[in-house]
């Protein structure tokens, strides 16, 4: 199946905007490969919502599909309106860490709480890449960025764990060093209902990698590979040991009733009771 795969049939004939070595290429490829392997010949059954930032350009306007490129942080509310009125469509949100858990954090938590039927793919490069490398909610402690020249004095946010406690039906984390696992997680998520969240830890060689001492994107991917441990392996480690590790795998996989199920049940009830 993968022999016949070509990203081109899912893309508009436009030059992609990403810097050389950007992790967005890997995530785009993993997503389109997942779609292909699930048997979708085109993206007609999908609607993509994204916000502001490099990773929001993955679907918009490059996917040959309906895409709504919204304001910074507001992709999830817009996706809410789309999904509620068109439950038959697959609504997928792409965004960066700043977009999804910075400015858009409240929408993220509430969508997970509501168990809104969307798949959110967050490309986490630990920095604000498009604006040139400022500190993000996901920047590791003590790491220098353009707005934390003495090192970040804040603790980073674990978006996957947050999705779990907020109520997501599915939450997973992989890195660009795990393209196959990432693709498989996307495939799994696309077959599920409710709020699904995948974090893809990704390299930004331009605004982050260089600054923290990685000479190339490949070096950074190698670092991801060497410092990732599975959720199972992480069980015996202390919190301190884990600060330098990337825990990967499925964090939750459950089947709570979704917002579409609960809200349409209300409509049915209201129409019958009249």
């Amino acid at each position: 199946m993968s022999e016949s795969f070509s990203v081109k049939k899912y893309l508009r004939d436009l030059k992609l905007p990403f810097c050389p070595g950007c992790g967005a290429f890997t995530v785009m490829n993993a997503f389109l490969r997942a779609v292909h392997e699930l048997g979708y010949e085109n993206l007609e059954k999908f609607v993509f919502c994204s916000g502001i930032g490099c990773s929001s350009w993955i679907p918009s306007p490059y996917f040959l599909a309906d895409s709504i490129h919204t304001l910074h942080g507001r992709s999830i509310p817009v996706a809410t309106g789309v999904k509620l009125m068109r439950p038959d469509l697959n609504v997928v949100v792409f965004g960066g860490d700043g977009d999804i858990v910075g400015i858009g954090l409240s929408h993220f938590i509430h969508a997970a709480r509501r168990n809104l039927d969307v798949l959110v793919i967050m490309i986490n490069n630990m920095v604000y890449g498009m604006t040139g490398g400022q500190v993000a909610p996901t920047t590791p402690f003590k790491v220098k960025t353009t707005t934390t020249p003495y090192g970040s004095f804040e603790y980073p946010l674990d978006a996957v764990k947050l999705a779990v406690v907020a109520g997501a039906n599915y939450a997973a984390r992989w890195t660009t060093a795990h393209p196959t696992e990432l693709k498989e997680a996307i495939k799994k998520a696309l077959k599920l209902k409710g709020f699904r969240f995948i974090e893809a830890v990704s390299q930004c060689p331009t605004a982050f990698g260089r600054r923290v001492g990685f000479k190339t994107a490949a070096e950074m991917i190698k670092w991801f590979k060497e410092n990732s441990i599975t959720l199972e392996e992480s069980g015996g480690l202390s919190e301190e040991d884990l600060t330098t590790k990337i825990v990967v795998g499925d964090f939750v996989h459950r089947d709570r009733p979704t917002l579409i199920e609960t809200i349409y049940a209300v409509i049915k009830e209201a129409q019958e009771s009249e």
Binding site: D66, H69, T70, R74, P77, V78, G81, V82, L84
Partner: protein, 382 residues
């Protein structure tokens, strides 16, 4: 489908707004509770599911307008309702809706500001926010009802204008009109003019240009529509480097409103060709005009007025005509001069423009106060 039956009702303004929205075809509401707009959300929360629609309380006003925009792109007629502080939060997204040509209706039930101000009291302080709230160059369509019946009528008109011009439309109400109860006549549905957005034909692709109001596809119809708030070409493709592309886009978007002022800008005009003194009023404040004018006429003073049912685009022509007739125009407002300056700009010195302002406590300008002002101005000069 259980829409309201034709007949005579005794409604609060908020109820009239909600029922009119349903008749206009609204099937999606997202909002966040805020005094004095909450009754619209509560009414629609009950009524929308009954007609197969969706009402949802979002986590804030920003999420509410976002969901409305998303719903609109599925082809649904969608609205939200809020008050001043919530309206401020929505402003960035209103600009997005303007730029992406997303039809939707935003009801702002004005209360006293700035800030939390007086949450339960009436004011008219959002006139300029409704015109210039978002950043960049844009043209707002803003309607201003002065009765419960008009809340009903203008809600339907707001949806029609949104659909016709593919743009957000603001219904700028106020606490008094939204909360008071009055008689409302609901005509049979077939007597109502209900407009729907123009849909593209198969193969069409220029959803953001070529025509003044381009056809609007919905998502999931196979048109592969790319929607973006960034400067884009007629196919929706981001194009932020070229000043010409931006100019063409933004001039067209503004032109959609500015080239159709005569059709959009509705007023109620009375005696403007023969009067001695004029009044320009709108919203709840304009309710004082009728009695004041009658009383003045009893005293032999001929008063003319222009009541603005559309605040923006500003009905310049009729206000200018009034200015040519009279020596003075009184502008009563529950703010510290907002439409006043627009009237003065439009009058261009042809008439003296006199403010009559009242803020705080939600107290209306009474017919007596307006009459006193008329007598004062006539006695002194005219």
């Amino acid at each position: 489908m259980k829409l309201i039956k034709p007949g005579v009702y005794f409604w609060q303004g908020s109820e009239a707004c909600a029922e009119a929205a349903l008749l206009a075809g609204c099937r999606f509401f997202a909002g966040y509770p805020i005094t004095p707009a909450t009754e619209i959300a509560e009414h629609l929360a009950k009524r929308l599911p009954q007609v197969g629609g969706i009402a949802i309380q979002m986590e804030d006003e920003i999420a509410s307008i976002g969901a409305v925009i998303g719903a609109s792109w599925t082809g649904a007629k969608a609205m939200t309702a809020t008050s001043g502080p919530g309206f401020s939060l929505m402003q960035e997204s209103i600009g997005y809706a303007f730029m992406t040509e997303t039809p939707c209706v935003i009801v702002d039930v004005q209360r006293v500001g700035p800030s939390t101000g007086q949450a339960t009291k009436c004011a008219q302080g959002d006139v300029m926010q409704s015109r210039w709230g978002t950043h960049g160059d844009y043209s707002a369509i803003v309607l201003s009802p002065n009765s419960v019946q008009e809340m009903f009528n203008l809600t339907i008109r707001a949806f029609n204008l949104a659909e016709k011009y593919r743009t957000p439309v603001i219904l700028l109400s106020d606490e008094v009109v939204a909360h008071m109860r009055e008689k409302v006549v609901v005509p049979p549905v077939e007597k109502l003019e209900i407009l729907n957005r123009r849909k593209p034909k198969p193969g069409e692709r220029a959803f953001f240009g070529r025509e003044e109001v381009p056809p609007m596809p919905s998502v999931g119809e196979g048109f592969n529509v790319a929607v973006t708030g960034s400067t884009h070409d007629e196919f929706g493709i981001r194009y932020t480097a070229d000043p010409g592309v931006h100019r063409r886009l933004v001039e067209r978007l503004n032109g959609k409103v500015q080239n159709h002022v005569d059709e959009i800008a509705e007023v109620e005009a009375y005696n403007i060709e023969n009067c001695k003194i004029g009044i320009v009023a709108y919203g709840c404040t304009s309710r004082a005009v009728y009695d004041a004018v009658e009383e003045a006429e009893v005293r032999g003073i001929s008063v003319g007025y222009v009541r603005l049912k559309t605040l923006w685009p500003f009905p310049e022509k009729v206000v200018r005509r009034l200015a040519e007739t009279v020596g003075k125009i009184i502008v009563p407002e529950m703010n510290l001069r907002q439409i006043f300056y627009e009237v003065a700009r439009t009058a261009e010195g042809r008439a003296e423009v006199i403010p009559l302002n009242k803020v705080g406590g939600g107290e209306l300008i009474t017919p007596e106060e307006l009459l006193d002002k008329i007598l004062e101005e006539v006695g002194r000069n005219v």
